[in-house]
Symmetry: C2
Subunit: 546 residues, 2 copies
């Protein structure tokens, strides 16, 4: 009986850092050989540049840096693991065409390159901007096993899978950079099982880990048997090397069953995505930590818990900035949470600044009634304070507005929207509550009163969010249909919502594109985040209706 040990390298490359990623790849091969006796090591898609490299691909120097990296890998891995077949993703220009490639290295030589055939160019993906599709399968034989190499979208498309099987693949080996969204892990397993069964071959799926701007990769690399069952499932949200042993019998090559890490529940998965996105943004950008405004409300409270889970309490600093409309309990709850989590905490009342602005503007505003201008002013004073602390102390401001607010513009541009990163940007308010409850069920991190009291921006006397918006359950249900579903106002009304609510909400969404365009990036966790995912004109004459 023949066998083959394949190691899935589920790692977190840094976009643009070709030298660093190359060094990490070499080290992973060394470890895979020594620890697991790897015959084959498989990395994720575009590992050497990280994913997505975006317009870095257009830089003149990109190709020569990659050539240097490939030469270095060949030379060093030949010394470390001359008999290990390495399959790794990188971009490359071949015959004047740029491709998304998977290269195959053995014994100091690059033995072949596969060019991705199915290029995603929807949602957050722009691969047609950079790449031309390949047309040929690549089968590499090693220790008697024929590996059919594929890249990410090839698997979703399907045709390249059949082509690879027809070309003689014993095992389908796929390199992926598959961004997380809430339903993705289960969706993947259903689809991959179908693909494996369709061609009756086992399938290896290696995914990346980590956050890159708005994207987050969840890992969960997989090996499926030819009948579609999961033989091995790597952990989610953790880097690591995951070995799997294949053996050949009369039926062909099949993987042995190995570790099967559990699929996570929705709340846990989502929470891990937010923690990972924030942590990688802060660490990869080189910030010492984060500073954030703590209002006593649920968004900042959940954001603080996420920041502490991502970075540890010593790297998180909270500031309460009360004004006349800030409730006593808001101040008490903020202080209480800061104490619970052990983060740095300061109180800076904003009245002196608000009064100075009001006095300066008095002449210009004379005769004009108070309106949201005065509310925005409070929020902007807080933004300026946070940015000053950020600038002085090298801490990134963490923004805390949720997706429901970003959608309808219930946020102040240059006020509570200031900051470098927003963990909650793609999390609807109803999910903010679910996450807060889930997090507290693990270990208390958020004072219960923060969760139970009615939400308020506290920018005017006795203000509640429900004064100007439908309740969040209704709001979020309308938003999901409008944003994720691209449904018209009338179609949403037909689905059972109040006409006034629907028109109010869809008008607000359209009108506030300008705010979102200047918002910080944040983790995308739905099928339609406010980022690369949803490209809307700011100047927009579309009117709601049918």
């Amino acid at each position: 009986m023949q066998d083959l040990t394949l190691v899935m390298a589920q790692l977190d490359p840094m976009v643009g850092d070709i030298a660093g990623n190359t060094a990490a790849a070499i080290e992973a091969v060394r470890e895979a050989r020594i620890e697991h006796g790897a015959d084959v090591v498989v990395f994720s898609e575009l590992f050497l540049t990280g994913y997505p490299p975006e317009d870095l691909l257009l830089r003149e120097a990109m190709e020569s840096r990659l050539q240097d990296a490939l030469a270095e890998m060949a030379q060093k891995i030949d010394r470390i693991a001359p008999q290990t077949l390495v399959i790794i993703g990188y971009p490359g220009v071949r015959d004047g065409r740029r491709h998304n490639l998977a290269g195959v290295l053995l014994g100091g030589e690059w033995r072949g390159e596969y060019a991705k055939q199915a290029l995603p160019n929807y949602q957050v993906f722009d691969e047609d901007r950079y790449f031309e599709p390949g047309h040929e399968p690549l089968i590499v034989e090693h220790k008697g096993a024929k590996l059919g190499i594929l890249i990410c979208e090839d698997l979703w498309d399907g045709a390249p899978v059949r082509q690879s099987a027809e070309a003689g693949a014993d095992i389908l080996v796929t390199l992926n950079a598959s961004p997380f969204h809430l339903d993705k892990p289960a969706e993947r397993e259903r689809l991959f099982a179908e693909r494996a069964r369709e061609v009756e071959k086992p399938l290896v799926y290696v995914n990346a880990i980590g956050g890159q701007d708005e994207l987050v990769f969840d890992g969960g690399s997989l090996v499926l048997v030819a009948t579609g069952e999961v033989a091995v499932r790597a952990p989610f949200w953790q880097v690591g090397l995951m070995p799997v042993r294949f053996s050949r019998d009369a039926m062909g090559w099949e993987p042995q069953e190995g570790e099967r890490e559990p699929l996570l529940g929705a709340e846990e998965n989502l929470y891990c995505a937010l923690v990972t996105g924030l942590r990688d943004y802060v660490n990869k950008s080189g910030f010492k930590g984060v500073v954030m405004g703590l209002s006593g409300g649920i968004d900042s409270s959940l954001s603080l818990a996420i920041a502490v889970d991502a970075l540890g309490p010593d790297r998180v600093h909270a500031v309460m900035m009360p004004y006349h409309y800030t409730a006593e309990i808001s101040q008490a709850d903020a202080a209480e949470q800061a104490r619970m989590l052990g983060v740095g905490y300061e109180v800076m009342p904003i009245a002196p600044m608000v009064e100075a602005f009001t006095a300066t503007l008095a002449e210009s505003f004379s005769g004009l009634a108070a309106d949201t201008t005065e509310e925005n002013l409070q929020s902007r004073v807080r933004g300026v304070l946070l940015m000053a602390i950020s600038n002085k102390k090298g801490l990134m401001v963490q923004t805390t507005g949720n997706k429901s607010e970003m959608a309808v513009g219930y946020a102040t541009l240059y006020g509570d929207m200031v900051g470098g990163y927003n963990a909650l940007k793609d999390v609807y308010k109803t999910w903010v509550y679910r996450l807060a409850n889930w997090r507290n069920a693990q270990e208390p991190a958020i004072p219960e009163r923060v969760i139970s009291r009615p939400p308020s921006a506290e920018l005017a006397p006795d203000q509640q969010d429900s004064d100007s918006l439908p309740g969040y359950d209704v709001l979020d249900a309308i938003l999901e249909r409008y944003i994720e579903g691209d449904m018209s106002a009338e179609a949403i009304i037909e689905a059972g919502f109040e006409r006034d609510d629907v028109y109010q909400v869809v008008k607000l969404v359209d009108r506030n594109e300008y705010k979102r365009r200047q918002a910080p990036v944040g983790v995308r966790v739905t099928l339609r985040g406010f980022g690369r995912d949803r490209r809307y004109p700011i100047v927009n004459g579309w009117k709601p209706g049918n």
Copy 2:
């Protein structure tokens, strides 16, 4: 002898406003028939949705709205101009595929549709995200002339032009939405002449007019004879209907010479682009006017002139916000310019707010040295004042940072970067001077001292821009090579620049992507604006070098 009157409808559709654009098209056909006896009216690319409609194309209701529009056009134009052939651009889903179409209407019936074959998916273009390419030519015969219909990129690509000629076209009729950049008008005429000569057919090029977010369309619709000379050139930067008469002789169909508006000089063209971009953004968004900070420096001074030229002095309001470091001459020059241009003008000293912030932050900052935090604070106080005026009075804040500053991050996020639109966003500082001089040569609009004194941000005592940056001639030359040219640091040094300057500049460009990501949109006038044109990761491990 046969003849044919073709009218080029060089108009300014509003993105998303299908009903409004449809009404404008119907009215244009009526006018073209009555005023010019049009046999054929040609509109620009995607006229019914405006260009680019972006993700509005994904809305469920898009197709039914377009079907309604097509039905309305057929019905109304049949009454107004039953013998006029109308050729107009719109998107449409046919057999499950979305195409970028040109439809042909005559006598109340849609006679044919051409699907664009060459889809641009580079620079600012994302057409592969939305459209699938057509493969067939479309030739429409009207009054004995065979019109070969093409759309924009088809012309740049070339193959569809040859295909159309081979299919029997007498006249190539092209619908375009061709965004302006500085060298584009001359580039177009060179290319179109080549295409006309290649197939020995006359060529009609109809372009759109107006600003849409970061894009601006310059018009300049053209008719070329088969030997490539320009027979008719419509005005730049103006909407209008431009007739051209074709006649047939033994050699085939040829246009008669008509009006040939001049090509514009670089400064005039660029200035018009900035005025058009700003005007359309403000007007199409429904703002009453603009408010802006006037510092006595050249960027805000040129921006004020642009705003007045775009909107008239009554819709422009300027605010001088002096602090201890604001020179007397800055205040004098700002007041002088406001007087010259007749705009509203206020002075709001910022010391009270700066002092209130400083006192509030004193404890938190105790023991820490002064740094750029204090400079940013001044800038942010000004931002908050402008936003308060904006909110209270319904005026959009016009931002004034130029491309050199945006590139190296010489600007304060949430400070001088606040605002809805930035006319100078894609204008290098050296071009700011060229434009200021050109504008003053037409009619004085900028005090000469503003142009002649050394530039300073005036955020610290005796500060000059040259304290922290290379001179703007050197800076801009490095930036052009790095941004437009995608050259490496070492390649720029080889081209003759100082090592220290080059490394300082390229590091600043890379490090400041986060600021640009939150910057307001502005008019794109180069081949690589900071918008859809240049898609960079914020978290980025790319290191400058070879």
